[in-house]
């Protein structure tokens, strides 16, 4: 049962306060210091005084009206200090920890007041802080993907309130484990000490820490965590019937039938209890590209695919246009972003002793757009600078024409007329040269041979390219496989068995095949570049908020600028040339990487988290009546039951009392100034 009064002062303070009324009494009953005023004559005044002495009791009472008022004022102040109140939930315990969820789902606006859940959580914590006695301390931890200490243990309520105000919503996911570990570190320090062989901290020995978790519970339980002295209380924020539409996936990919076309794929989830139609709008660089209407069944997902022009590039943005009567509570996930990079600045190294046909096939306009082809001779390859580069993952593709390196480079490779210097490729019969192979079949579905007609290609001689285990034959001939591909670590090695231009015995260059005269030849090299230089033609993989982004920067610069979605810019120092690691990804949207004033690259950060977008409180049916209650949290082996949705907060009178004291003070001042007339 909640006590009616809650003492806020210690005995010394009360003693001091108790002396205030005594002081007032003393001031009144000690000799009053009267202000001397000279008058012509006290003749009349004496007669007045004599008259008034007749009814002196009433006069004395009237004189002490101010005294009574002052005593009332002090009494009210004392009463306020006792903090009378009722129907409150007492804060039991000495130390408190408030874990505030600031993940994306906490931005949902389904509270009664219409504010976001985070605001309500902050409000609730503020109310709890108000109840905090001065001898109790509390700390605040805000968590999303990462947990952060907003305020360490303190009994300074003003500090706590100010820190509370600083918590901003993020777009991150919920990670309670991290927050609990952080809380554990603060609450159970003695564990570390005992492990280090120290004494247990006596003052904390039997003090538990009340752990208030304010969250919407949009996460799975935490396993394998021991709460130790933490005594968790779960205050769920939100409601059961919150509706939300969310984009849970958005990417671009090459068209299935027409590889030069891109498709944008949008998946929309309906996280409510009723089917709903939405309009999905796709914009590219701010201009509307397409829109589609989707009907999403309740609790299901629906998807739509938009066709994009092959040459399109820029920032794609997809937005859900939800009718207002649906009352979508989380606007954060109604938008998604993607970056369409058509220009691939892949780096291709062509190592050749000289091959006009190949060089010209790799220097067309389209190939230039796809990749940056450098050409060196096999002699240059032996130099140390290239040796270093070959091992440093700079090139996307290295074409070895009529030559082979001593060790395999860290890149995709295409060997023309040679076998890779690897044991695996030295299958039987691979090393001997066979003459006059006729192409029987080729793998038409493989991207390298996409849309190629090879039946009319004549070849003089070739190496057999039987692939090692895990590889595949792409062109088969009467003499065996002549074009194969095999994976190596995270790279792929393709081997074309026949040379295009070969050396005769006498050293003259001659054509080994008539392939360069066919239409399929330039197409093949385009396919090669497209296949090897970009991973798969999808949009740059989406990044999650609050997780670091790693990117390759082709420009060998040391510093660059990252423009955040809200327009802010951050200078980033590259630790490794060509590698960007960026951590400040708490905003959703497109980040632009500027190098020397130009947009070098972009990447998008999206939520795409069904757990966060599913903003309804997790519930379970309980009891025979099947009352819907908030599901409990499970932390380790402990089930933390949810507290009542609105835990009763103690109603306090002290503000009213202080206001009353103020009124009394004003009244007393009025009387003092106007008592002549009373």
């Amino acid at each position: 049962m909640e006590p009616l009064f809650r003492n806020t002062l210690g005995p010394t303070s009360w003693l001091l306060l108790g002396m205030v009324p005594l002081g007032i009494f003393a001031l009144y009953f000690l000799k009053l210091k009267r202000q001397p005023v000279e008058v012509p004559s006290t003749y009349l005044w004496h007669r007045v005084i004599e008259d008034l002495h007749v009814n002196s009791l009433w006069q004395r009472l009237r004189k002490s009206l101010l005294l009574l008022l002052q005593l009332l004022l002090v009494f009210l102040a004392m009463l306020a200090l006792l903090r009378p109140g009722w129907q409150g939930q007492a804060l039991e315990g000495q130390r408190f920890m408030f874990l505030i969820d600031k993940s994306a789902s906490m931005s949902a606006t389904d509270t009664k007041s219409g504010e976001s859940r985070l605001e309500e959580a902050k409000q609730r914590v503020a109310e709890l802080i108000d109840q905090l006695d001065s001898d109790k301390s509390a700390m605040i931890i805000a968590f999303a993907e990462q947990a952060e200490v907003v305020q360490e243990f303190t009994n300074n309520r003003r500090l706590l309130r100010e820190s509370l105000k600083r918590i901003e919503p993020t777009a991150g996911r919920t990670n309670l484990t991290g927050a609990l570990e952080l809380a554990d570190g603060f609450a159970n320090p003695r564990r570390l000490l005992t492990e280090a062989g120290e004494f247990e901290v006596a003052e904390n020995a039997d003090q538990g820490v009340e752990l208030y978790i304010l969250s919407d519970g949009r996460f799975r339980g935490v396993e394998g965590f021991s709460l130790g002295k933490l005594q968790p209380l779960y205050l769920p924020i939100g409601s059961f019937h919150t509706r939300n539409m969310a984009i849970t996936a958005f990417n671009t990919r090459r068209g299935d039938e027409r590889p030069d076309q891109r498709q944008a794929f949008v998946q929309v989830s309906n996280l409510s209890e009723q089917p709903q139609k939405v309009i999905v709008e796709l914009t590219l660089n701010g201009g509307l590209v397409d829109a589609a209407e989707l009907e999403v069944p309740a609790g299901e997902v629906a998807s739509v695919t938009f066709a994009l022009l092959g040459g399109a590039e820029g920032e794609l943005r997809v937005k859900l246009d939800i009718p207002s009567e649906f009352q979508d509570s989380l606007p954060l996930d109604n938008e998604a972003f993607a970056v369409l990079e058509n220009r691939r600045d892949a780096r291709v190294l062509l190592v050749t002793p000289g091959n006009m046909t190949l060089e010209s096939a790799l220097s067309t306009e389209r190939t230039n757009r796809l990749a940056n082809v450098e050409k060196i001779s096999p002699e240059q390859l032996e130099k140390s600078e290239y040796q270093d580069q070959l091992q440093s993952d700079i090139y996307d593709l290295i074409i070895f024409d009529q030559c082979q390196p001593k060790i395999m480079p860290m890149a995709n490779t295409l060997f023309v007329g040679r076998l890779p210097p690897l044991e695996r490729w030295k299958n039987e019969g691979n090393s001997e040269i066979v003459f006059g192979p006729q192409i029987i079949d080729w793998e038409r579905s493989h991207p390298l041979l996409n849309l190629l007609e090879l039946g009319n290609v004549q070849i003089v001689d070739t190496l057999r390219t039987k692939p090692p285990l895990g590889g595949g034959v792409l062109i088969d001939s009467t003499k065996g496989p002549i074009f194969s591909i095999a994976p190596r670590d995270r790279y792929e090695d393709a081997v074309l068995g026949f040379e295009i231009v070969g050396l005769e015995q006498d050293g003259t260059r001659t054509f080994n095949t008539d392939w360069p005269r066919k239409h399929s030849f330039p197409s093949f090299w385009l396919n090669v570049l497209e296949y090897f230089t970009s991973s798969d033609g999808t949009s740059i993989s989406t990044n999650k908020p609050n997780s670091p982004v790693e990117m390759r920067i082709n420009n060998l610069v040391e510093t660059l600028t990252v423009e955040l979605p809200d327009g802010a810019r951050r200078e980033v120092q590259l630790e490794k040339p060509g590698r960007l690691a960026f951590h400040e990804t708490d905003q959703l949207g497109v980040y632009r990487i500027h190098v020397a004033g130009q947009i070098e690259k972009r990447f998008a950060v999206n939520l795409f988290d069904r757990d966060e977008s599913d903003v309804q409180l997790r519930s379970k049916q309980e009891g025979e009546d099947g009352v819907q209650v908030v599901d409990s949290l499970s932390i380790g082996y402990v089930d933390v039951a949810a507290q009542a949705p609105s835990s009763p907060v103690r109603r306090e009178l002290w503000k009213l009392l202080l206001a009353g004291a103020l009124v009394v003070l004003i009244f007393e001042w009025y009387i003092y100034n106007r008592r002549v007339y009373i």
Binding site: T42, Y43, L44
Partner: protein
């Protein structure tokens, strides 16, 4: 004196107004010299007064020969004498008069000068005295318009530093001035021993007495608040008060009783009483109130 010019007791406008006025008395007194007022004395004016039998030694020129012819008796024809009037102004110059804005004494001096000027214009014997003067110290008797400057000098030299009690002062005044006439007594009547005994001297002196009680605005409506120690400026007597509404209303009652009592006392004894506020201009007081009371005409 320089004071005269700095704070003129009588402004030219006031003088012009006063010139038309005249001091009046209901009683007829004997004057000292030939004047403009009817005296009790029989003398040589044109106004017939009475007959009486001739006794040896009378002036034969005053015999009524027509009556002698008819009655064959020597009868002397008497005429009324016209003499001047004694006009006294007695100012209470005690320290209690040095209050108010203007001070009550200032007000009293102004009033005395104004009334004195009227007397001078009408050729009366004007004498302005204060309570503090001993039985032997006499003020000059002023007569005629030419004496105005002496009157003003004399009045402005009065300082509020006298400590004589009310009755003592009035007694000394009566001892000094045996002549009957009009006495204007200007005071605040604030004497702890009471004003009654003082006023009785006037009764026994058989003068036409006007008591003008001058009270300052601060006395009539005190503007005080808080816990105060009131100090009497004359005898340093102390009264401790805590100002409250009942106290103030009680003060008003007491003040009213005091002034009413004084008025009643005066009226019963054939004296004229008037309460004057120092905020009321002197010209208004003279032209309206004193004229109604019959002191001036």
């Amino acid at each position: 004196m320089s004071d005269v010019r700095e704070s003129p007791l009588l402004s030219p406008e006031l003088l012009a107004q006063l010139e038309r006025l005249e001091l009046v008395t209901r009683k007829v007194f004997r004057g000292r010299m030939k004047g403009e007022r009817r005296s009790k004395r029989k003398g040589q004016s044109v106004e017939f007064a009475d007959f009486r039998n001739y006794v040896a030694g009378d002036d034969l020129r005053q015999l009524d020969w027509n009556l002698y012819a008819r009655l064959d008796k020597l009868i002397i024809k008497l005429f009324t004498e016209e003499e001047d009037l004694h006009f006294y102004t007695l100012i209470d110059a005690s320290m209690s008069m040095d209050f108010g804005e203007p001070t009550k004494l200032e007000y009293a001096k102004q009033l005395a000068a104004a009334l004195g000027f009227i007397g001078l214009v009408r050729a009366d014997r004007v004498r302005i005295e204060t309570l503090g003067q001993g039985p032997g110290e006499r003020s000059p008797i002023l007569r005629g318009r030419a004496s105005m400057w002496r009157l003003l000098q004399h009045v402005s030299a009065i300082q509020p530093d006298e400590t004589t009690s009310l009755s003592e002062g009035v007694k000394n005044f009566c001892l000094r001035n045996r002549g009957r006439g009009v006495v204007v007594f200007i005071s605040d009547l604030m004497d702890k021993a009471g004003y009654e005994s003082a006023l009785r001297y006037f009764v026994s002196h058989q003068v036409d007495c006007f008591v003008i009680q001058v009270l300052s605005q601060e006395e009539l409506e005190p503007d005080v608040k808080g816990d105060l120690k009131l100090v009497d400026c004359e005898d340093a007597d102390v009264a401790e008060i805590t100002v409250s509404a009942p106290l103030l209303s009680r003060y008003q009652q007491t003040l009213n009783a005091f002034t009413q009592g004084a008025q009643e006392f005066c009226t019963r004894r054939g004296m004229h009483y008037m309460l004057a506020n120092n905020r009321m201009p002197v010209e208004e007081l003279i032209a309206r109130h004193l004229r109604r009371r019959g002191l001036v005409r």
